[in-house]
Symmetry: D3
Subunit: 252 residues, 6 copies
């Protein structure tokens, strides 16, 4: 079984890095996977990829050691299983508001007897190895997103759901839900208080915490705060900021 | 007729900026077109787009004032006309080695009586306006690339070809052809001597010169040297450099 | 914020026109958007587009003043948010049978505190403008379809749901549900009685009513009956009727 | 109305053959459809096709007498209707665990008054004929999958659901759910006992039974056991086994 | 061997009808193929399809009796053979200016000993039948376009080229080349004189003549003038005219 | 630099195996690449892939040790360079009839000073390594096809062309050109005499010979005859034969 590099980093006591793919291009994905991040997330929710794009993007990562995550479109059985069959080693599920939501996610993300995931990981076996059946439920990382007031309120019960590895914080939506602007790199003290609280409670529960960041500074702050998996930047974001800066510099 | 923003810049005596698209994604193209560059080039030669990708990418730019260029796959009638029918306002043609090559390019890039371009710009009319027939031959910018020893040798005769607006320097291939490493942001004095010579001879011939740059510093240097159109950076390049730097910074 | 042309027409007391896209082609979409209709609907239910097609089609409209609507595949959070993130300024939701269905639609179509739409409208901001966060909930038009006996029965309670702009009548399904043939351009008096009743009750509730029409005659009848948004024809329908007529005429 | 070849076989008292498409290619689908199988299933669950791929694959079958089945991604209204609108003459629905699940499937697979399928089978009419409205509910074959312990337990009540033509056995998932390895061509006596029991109870209830097989030997065994529709092999499976054998033979 | 319906019409002494596909959608192609035209042309020159689109569009026609034509991107071996391998029963080649151009076209369109077409018509055999090898060179219709002054001048020698079935007139380019506006439905007497002259000389040479028309009236005029194959209208054209008229009528 | 497995086999004095991809699916390509063949050819001539499909298929092979070959659509600079930029480690060029044809192929397949290939192998570097510039011209295998009477006649001069690694025999076209049926697994003694002659002359010239085979028996015969690279079977071929045999066996 191909190991999950994020778990390996965790076993070494280190935070793992993550890169975010909003675009729909297997070419962009392949360049991203060669950057050296521990993991790459295909964003099937707010990104622009369909299932067939997602598959091509994950295929394009297979020659590297960056492992594929998928941010699911929604907490739906069909989507959960398509992402896993494509070879995902990590699932980030948006808008989990309760332990029931989290249990629903696990139900379709794990094979019997732990869940009811349906068998058919044809391509995933090519990526992972022939012992997929016996290893995947321990290999895949499943992270419900905490990004609503409801989810934040239910954090402790969500963290207790069997099969969950931890939680992933969506700071934009969390800020929005708490009444602030939806800015990834927020400076709002109340949002940061919530972020830190989530990290602390996840650590206290012996679970992992992960987060989307709007800047490297934020990523470093999150890492130092105890986050185990940190999305540092992404394809569109890094292109837009670098290319915009280049134009300004050129036009000076 | 929608004006050609690059020509407008030229009429103001300014250098125009260009952004390079190697990827195949209309989403990336749309984000790029909102950055404010004067023009965006879809690279159909070393980029990853097919004709249908090129079309979607050009469509995605139409709501902005960045005008679409295409770097042709090759100096072939079918490709030249597909790029123009898609709405291109600029053509960059690789590996032009002689005045005959340049005349071949013009032959299929201009309508009778100047050339033999075939009629059918259905989509281009949507983009440009109903006076396309009468305006396009004066609107479109056609730039043969000078990127081989042969092309450099024939520079003056290429610059004299009727219908050519100027030349576009490919520094990587030019360096390679002159016996150096194919590095866009080259430091080779002999390559720079050739680049400067091309700029001077194009200016002396009252033609435009354009160039692909490997860094903003190079872009500024080229602009100050008299280049009229400067490719400052591109999608994959800016993403890779910014995302690589972010990872290094995160892992410190 | 780019204005919603349909709302502008409504503010002028006029009915807005709508064109329907069943095909999956961004090229067809761009030609359609240049026809002058106030709005263009990508049909993600009975049409042939996937999410990536939908995105390309909406991108291709952006240079025109025709605003994009999406007829959702189904009343599902993932689909609702993909359509809005793509830039939709109008949502038409099939098979809404109750006020609960309508509330579910609104829940995922509006940002907190009105709903629970998740943040990430990267491309929509390119289309709309940087004040998207503050304007979109007032800009987007949300129309549950009344096209079943159940939905018709619950019309008044559906019209009362907060956030709903009005209702969209699907005459084929409504006819089918009432026991008649599913013909868009139906002549059934009982179906027309229902259609007129829906228009009247929507107007009485100070809400908008919209409708899919099978002919221009029907479209005019609907407009004169008080409908505020009228789908006049669509891509496949207009091509099939015009091209079929041309063949008959040719073969005479 | 184009007849359903599987029903024709059944009327002749014969078992019908089925071929499975996991890939996403209309080219592969067209070659498959020319092999002579009675039916071809596009696997939208564990296969690699999106809705647009599914449509192209079904279009590519239309010139043959092999009729299209779709194994649904999930028991969801949007997916059920997309498959039927694309022209499917058979639906195989994964993970049906109860009579309620089966009724949900029928609800969206049949037109009023039997169900609530929404009207819009534009392409399906091209394939089937103009009497689609009156014939399709009797033509299409709807088969919930029995592939979980829960579904197996509820088999009799599922078989009683009005509109269901029978059941389709997923031996891999059934084996997994019963505590065995998920192998299509299983040799487990307890799994085979369940398979045979399902066949017997379906036959006793005057319903059809169908099954996915991992080998021709298994397919023949199933047919002789009373299965009415037998998936004999598929695209990826047959390619991998034949091409693997060829390499072994070549390297001897 | 599946017969070529256009040849059948010719054998009956009738003009054959043709429909033009500029879009890139297999869905549009399938609807078009069900309209009843004798033949459908995929326009790979000024249309928007790549080779993979062309293939899907041709696949979608296979269940109908409308036979597929391809207007080639250019007179290139690779393109000629891709169109034929996809199953084309007719080739329309743009911008043929001389007998040499026509011979080049035939060289790659016919198998040895008549030409040098390369073997590999895998999909074409599915469409045509197993006797493809022996029948296709007599079945396929090859039509160089006469649409330039040069081609018109060389008409007689082009008509004499062995393997050519006749010529196809492109009136827009012909008008442009003769110094007039490129309008398909031209009223220019000098263009019509040329058109009629081409028809007469083709008929005199016992060859076929075909033409693209900008209106049904023009199509009828061409038919009555002796044209054997008449492109009556197309997908984008018929949609734009019908949908534009509908909007005008609605807005009255 | 990632080594070329075919060259490695050759250095061990062994024949290398090759698998042929006619389909257009990256999924099929990934399954194929896991079969263990030394090399996989994407057929861009008679197969169904466009450039973007080719790229996705080659990306999907990168995690395996099977190296990518491309059979070019035609001997055209644009196509040659697209295949190499995509990462091809082998080129098979159809219909090479003379030493001039072979020199044209080499001219665009090798960097200066050996040829005029243009720089821009962005993705190829990801696959191969950062020393691509210095290694690729020695790594890539370039094989003109001998498949016409003309090419066979010119065999010796073709074998002498600098940069050519050997020749690839297309037995179907060769048979056709010699006046026989185009059958890959031909039994014609005169065709086999030519095949053996080509093998002998290539070996005598210290060049490699390669061949497409229609059966494993033919593949073994070719290997034993001295062929260094043998295409044993392909995706569509192996699927069709295995799936057809399964149906026959099932229906017994």
């Amino acid at each position: 079984m191909r190991p999950n590099k994020v778990r390996q980093k965790w076993e070494q006591g280190k935070a793992a890095s993550n890169f975010w793919l909003s675009s729909d291009s297997s070419v962009v994905a392949e360049f991203a996977a060669h950057l050296g991040y521990d993991s790459i997330t295909v964003d099937a929710q707010h990104g622009f990829s369909d299932n067939s794009d997602m598959l091509g993007m994950i295929q394009a990562m297979a020659a590297t050691s960056s492992i594929p995550f998928v941010r699911l479109r929604w907490n739906e059985p069909g989507q959960i299983m398509r992402a896993l069959d494509a070879g995902a080693y990590g699932l980030i599920c948006p808008m989990v508001n309760s332990a029931d939501d989290a249990r629903h996610l696990i139900q379709y993300a794990k094979y019997p007897p732990y869940g009811e995931r349906s068998w058919g990981p044809h391509r995933a076996i090519l990526y992972s190895g022939s012992d997929y059946r016996h290893e995947i439920d321990e290999t895949v990382i499943v992270l419900p997103m905490i990004e609503t007031k409801a989810g934040y309120t239910e954090l402790d019960s969500i963290l207790e759901v069997d099969g969950i590895d931890g939680v992933y914080v969506g700071p934009s939506d969390l800020a929005l839900s708490l009444g602030f602007q939806p800015v990834a790199d927020t400076q709002e003290p109340k949002v940061w208080a919530a972020i830190e609280d989530i990290a602390n409670r996840a650590n206290a529960a012996n679970k992992k915490c992960a987060i989307f960041c709007g800047s490297v500074a934020m990523a470093r702050r999150a890492r130092d705060m105890g986050f185990h998996l940190v999305t540092v930047t992404g394809d569109i974001g890094s292109m837009v900021s670098a290319a915009g800066a280049a134009l300004s510099e050129f036009e000076k």
